[in-house]
């Protein structure tokens, strides 16, 4: 077992979920604190900020959205992962404004969650270290620039605030411009550790991804829906 010092906070009112997530993360060597409601978590965060937070959306006393907003006000870089039991809840709740770094729908795969936590720690560590720019991990498709090491992307030179899932989807699409990726293929790339993701989940992530581009560029049309097949990336300027 590697020994890490990062502290992860897990906030969920479901005792079994909370404890299983804590168990899995501790096995990876993280320090873990668990909280059953938002107010209890916030009281603890005011004393000491965790290095990463896993939050349920519907929480007693202070809900996950408010907790996320308060955390964001204290730290702009602290990685936040949401767990949610309502797929449609995400559209309403997690727009561009909340600034969560990723979210997984219940019942999520524990292996996937652990993998996401690792990615987010890596992304956070590299964000503050601009020196290591590995050209091999850079991908360019027209006006899009993807940094596979940092899990970040830029559109026309401007950074996009993408969740890890959105980043993985975008990377899968942009790697082969013009080629159609089926939902099944996208699922495998965006959720490499989870065999049961619904196709609708992919659709709603793509919808949010598009919206993020459109907020930068109202005329954006780089992600094309191919009816009955899936999605493809279209080179900017080629349309």
């Amino acid at each position: 077992m590697q020994s890490r010092t990062e502290l992860v906070a897990v906030v969920d009112d479901e005792k079994n979920i909370r404890e299983t997530v804590a168990f899995a993360l501790k096995r990876e060597g993280y320090r873990v604190n668990t909280y059953a409601d938002g107010a209890e978590a916030w009281a603890a965060f005011r004393r000491e900020l965790p290095d990463l937070a896993v939050l349920d959306i519907l929480l007693p006393r202070m809900d996950g959205r408010e907790l996320c907003r308060k955390l964001r006000a204290k730290s702009e870089t602290l990685p936040i992962v949401f767990l949610t039991s309502k797929d449609e809840e995400l559209d309403r709740v997690l727009g561009l404004e909340l600034g969560a770094d990723d979210y997984l729908c219940k019942p999520f795969s524990m292996r996937e969650l652990v993998a996401r936590v690792k990615v987010l720690f890596r992304r956070a560590a590299l964000a503050s270290d601009p020196s290591r720019r590995e050209e091999a991990k850079m991908l360019r498709a027209g006006s899009l620039e993807i940094d596979g090491l940092r899990y970040t992307a830029r559109w026309r030179g401007e950074p996009l605030a993408l969740t890890v899932t959105e980043f993985l989807l975008l990377q899968a699409l942009a790697r082969h411009p013009g080629h159609v990726k089926t939902r099944q293929q996208l699922m495998e790339e965006a959720y490499p550790n989870d065999a049961y993701v619904s196709e609708r989940t992919i659709d709603s992530h793509v919808k949010r991804l598009r919206r993020k581009f459109e907020s930068r560029d109202a005329a954006f049309s780089g992600i094309d829906t191919v009816h009955g097949l899936g999605y493809r990336w279209i080179e900017a300027g080629a349309e």
Partner: protein
Amino acid sequence: MELLRLGLRLLLFNLLLVSLTIAGFLYLVPWAAVVVSAAAALLLSVFFAAAITGTLEDLTRRLEDRQRATETLASEVAHELKNPLASIRSAAEMLHEVREPEERRRFAAVIQEEVARMERQVSQLAEITRIDARLENEEQVAVPVNGLLAQVAERFRLRENGRVKFELEAPEEVLTVRASPERLTQVFENLLDNAAGFSPAGGAVRVALERSRDGGALIRVSDEGPGIPPEHLSRIFDRFFSHRPGEEGRRARLHPGLGLAIAKAIVEGYGGSIAAGNAGAGGAVFTVRLPSSRTGISRQVMGRS
């Protein structure tokens, strides 16, 4: 809805044509009579069309309401089942990965516990969705509330075995309501179960029965627990609403949050009402009002939309 209105307009137009044709047959009748009969026919058809449209609109609206209620319930259920599913899935995954027997036993226990919870949710759900239909079909008799409350309280005394006290205050006179005794028992079992769940060890649950001003039965169930946070009062009877502060053990698992919703559905089905509040001295108070068996409750049951 639009199509319906168009159809009605066509019908109206047809009626007008028919009346004019009839007037044509009566060609020899003076012109004034034709005008009068046509006008009368027109008025009549307008009246009927309006009446039909009104009825159909009402019917459509009720169907839409019911459709919406079904959709809401379906999404609540999907949402509610995802939490136990998430626990089961993660515990099952961990079972694959851990080797220590003690840890494995723990995850197996999580799976069993959550499966039992889902089973309970599903059966309570079947219960609540059929309450409307069942109440109408069940035989209603005059139930003496004093005796029914005494029985329920006694069952809970045995169940809690001294952990919580159950005190019953009832008047000398016997108050009766029209209901199915099993349904009414279910109402008070759910209320007492809720009160007992929130009671501290050694606390008392009080059940007080009295005659209400309109001659019906007024029942108050109060406990010595933490009370209901004011922000939850409006949602306490919602399906799946469950808030158990500081409660982490097995008890919380046993409550999928449908007991109070079921109690409310039954009480309202009998033309009564149920309300939740807090006592001045702390603790929650649930107040149930049921109409007396002498006033026609069955009418209210049938009249429900």
